[in-house]
């Protein structure tokens, strides 16, 4: 049963990803990306990582994609005309694809994938309670530093977008 669901959602995720690449209309592309994110969230549910699934939907499919759509609307992007692909693009894509295939083959042939553990231990980030405990004990310092990261990001946006003071 789980296997069937896995194939359904994996296919949907791949189809969405292909849609992002091939769609000429940017809004359609963004919608396909949302489809991919939702399928990924479903895959997380199948792996019993419910918290990650919720975060995926809330943050990526929700907040980030709304931002994407806003920017697309603001920029008023027209449908891009079909451009002739240059030989460099072809060469670069071929090399990139070759490296990707080599990487996937190498990793799937390696010992660390084949040696499956008899029982996988529960990862700490799967349930909300365990995640919260970890965040406020072990990872307290990185979390505080993240606060500073968000602060300077906010100040930076204000500084860079405020009207120039020309007295």
């Amino acid at each position: 049963m789980t296997d069937i669901f896995f194939y359904i959602f994996a296919t949907a995720a791949l189809a969405g990803a292909l849609g992002v690449v091939f769609s000429r209309n940017t809004v359609n592309g963004a919608m396909c990306l949302i489809g991919t994110f939702l399928s990924m969230a479903s895959l997380f549910v199948l792996l019993e990582a419910y918290f990650l699934a919720v975060i995926q939907v809330l943050v990526y499919a929700g907040a980030v994609m709304v931002l994407f759509l806003f920017i697309i609307m603001l920029l008023d992007v027209k449908e891009s005309a079909a451009k002739k692909t240059s030989i460099y693009t072809w060469a670069a894509s071929l090399i990139g694809f070759g490296i990707l295939v080599t990487g996937v083959v190498a990793i799937s042939a390696s010992e660390s994938i084949k040696n499956k553990a008899p029982t996988m231990p529960e990862a700490s980030g799967t349930s909300l309670k365990a995640f919260g405990y970890e965040l406020f004990t072990t990872y307290l310092l990185p979390m505080q530093v993240t606060g500073f990261l968000l602060l300077i990001a906010m100040i930076g946006v204000i500084v860079l977008s405020k009207k120039v003071n020309t007295e």
């Binding site: 990793i107 010992e111 553990a117 307290l140 300077i152 100040i155 204000i158 003071n165």
Partner: protein, 505 residues
């Protein structure tokens, strides 16, 4: 879940151990508060308060380091690891930050831009870099690195009224995001490999440097671990500007405001080497891959940096590309540290010499009278020594130290790295490095030549070249900054005993 585990973890959260970083954070926040509280006329004092506060923190760290009262060992549940190297990096980043604050004060005074935010972001970056140098866990490393990088994006595009600064900011943002992605992907692969319970040496907390080193020692030919290592090194190579990842350097250095260029050249590079030094312990089990990779990077970096700098006329691009070659020399130090114990001290010495030399060069450049500092060329230096001998002296000492002319600190720095490489029997690398040094003399003396000898000009051009530097405009602080940089460079050139005591020990 029992509460005892959490109590145990909470006990290791010893906040007093990171007092300097906390003080930097508090100082950064109080700058923003001061801007709200103080009347508008008193706002000019805020940069001075920032510098003064940092001097106090620097004094605290230096006295603590000299007295050896700072604690050593792990803290925050293995997030941080405190040792002598980390202390020196703290001193380094604080020193660099004070000097960039001074440059910022001079540079921002000439422009109608928000001032306080620059110092706020600078202080947060420095605090993050200080934590980065002592990180012992990939989560801590990544968060500290991202905090610093986000700050850099803002500081690079700070002169947003000039297109070139914005362009540099955008380029740095895209390249920086790409390198962060590569680094993060590597970290994730290492996490996946290290927490597979079917393999020997795996652990629940495999992002901890100690645990990961243990895992890699037990499985030295694990493919995932190997790919992860290569990706992590690529991410770090971006920060130090090593060869295939150096393309952003000339454009970003040129477009960024002068103080930010100094910060990128000094702090960002040093942060990369702080990471590389702690990572070389983690990846020591993969040494057969790790060190050849670094050697290839070092050779290409030295050759590229030096030969690309030969043809440049723009001062900031020359400094950027010469910085690339310095990264190559430092990489040799990291490779030598595999067999020679004191090589990591030599790297620190080199970094301090580089800091002082850059301080001298940049504090001279900041006084060159030009609205847009992105197109400072060698011609703008014309007759600098004749117009203002003091600035000429500062430039000569700074550039001489960068080139490695005895008896300046830069010479001793290069010498120590070369001796370490010789002891580690890295003869090939040594040969490349010496070729690099010889080539570098050419463009460094190109800078000096245009500063000290007459530049031939058309008669008509002379009226359009109002780059005269009035000596009085330097002010007390301007003179003090250059004097400190020159004195420090000379002092480290003659007197290395605080470092040599570590060399012996």
């Amino acid at each position: 879940m029992s509460t005892e585990i959490f109590q145990k973890i909470a006990e290791t959260n010893t906040w007093s151990w990171i007092a300097p970083e906390l003080a930097m954070g508090v100082l950064a926040l109080s700058l923003l508060v001061l801007e709200v509280i103080l009347p508008k006329v008193a706002h000019g004092a805020i940069p001075r308060i920032a510098i003064l506060g940092q001097l106090v923190i620097l004094g605290y760290v230096v006295t603590g380091t000299c007295a050896g009262t700072f604690p050593a060992g792990e803290a925050f549940g293995g997030m941080l690891y405190f040792d002598g190297t980390g202390q020196l990096f703290r001193v380094f980043f604080l020193g660099a930050s004070i000097f960039v604050s001074y440059l910022g004060m001079v540079s921002l005074d000439k422009r109608l831009l928000p001032q306080v935010e620059y110092f706020h972001i600078l202080l947060v970056i420095t605090a993050a870099l200080m934590l980065l140098a002592q990180a012992n866990h990939f989560v801590m490393l990544f968060v500290a690195l991202e905090t610093a990088t986000v700050g850099f994006y803002i500081l690079v595009s700070y002169f947003r009224h000039t297109t070139v600064s914005l362009e540099a900011g955008l380029k740095y943002l895209i390249m920086g995001a790409l390198s962060s992605t590569i680094l993060l992907f590597g970290i994730v692969l290492l996490y996946g490999a290290g927490s597979n319970p079917a393999l020997a040496g795996s652990s629940q907390d495999s992002l901890n440097f100690g645990n990961l080193a243990g895992f890699l020692a037990a499985n030295p030919d694990d493919t995932l671990g190997l790919i992860g290592m290569i990706l992590v090194i690529s991410g770090v190579a971006f920060k130090i500007g090593a060869f295939p990842f150096q393309i952003w350097i000339p454009d970003v250095y040129q477009g960024a405001p002068l103080p930010t260029t100094a910060l990128l050249a000094v702090s960002s590079k040093a942060a990369g080497f702080a990471m590389l030094l702690s990572l070389s312990k983690v990846f020591s089990a993969l040494g057969d891959w790790f060190y050849p990779l670094l050697s290839a990077l070092a050779v290409l970096t030295i050759l590229f940096g030096n030969f690309a700098a030969l043809t440049q006329r723009n001062l900031k691009r020359v400094i950027g590309l010469s910085g690339v070659s310095h990264a190559g020399f430092l990489l040799i130090g990291v490779i030598a540290a595999r067999t020679v114990d004191w090589a990591s001290t030599a790297i620190l010495f080199y970094l301090f010499a580089y800091l002082l030399a850059s301080a001298a060069v940049f504090s001279v450049l900041v006084h060159l009278n030009k609205d847009d500092d992105s197109d400072l060329t060698l011609d703008d230096l014309g007759d600098l020594a004749k117009k203002n001998g003091f600035l000429g002296l500062g430039l000569a000492v700074g550039v001489g130290s960068l080139a490695g002319i005895p008896p300046l600190a830069g010479f001793i720095g290069k010498l120590l790295i070369f001796i370490a490489a010789f002891k580690a029997e890295l003869y090939g690398l040594l040969g490349v490095a010496i070729v690099g040094v010889v080539v570098s003399i050419y463009y460094y003396f190109g800078i000096l030549k245009s500063a000290f000898f007459d530049v031939w000009q058309f008669q008509a051009d002379e009226e359009e070249a109002p780059t005269a530097i009035p000596g009085s405009a330097l002010g007390f602080l301007g003179k003090l900054a250059i004097v400190i940089a020159i004195a420090g460079t000379l002092l480290l050139g003659f007197y290395q005993s605080p470092f040599s005591s570590w060399l012996v020990g």
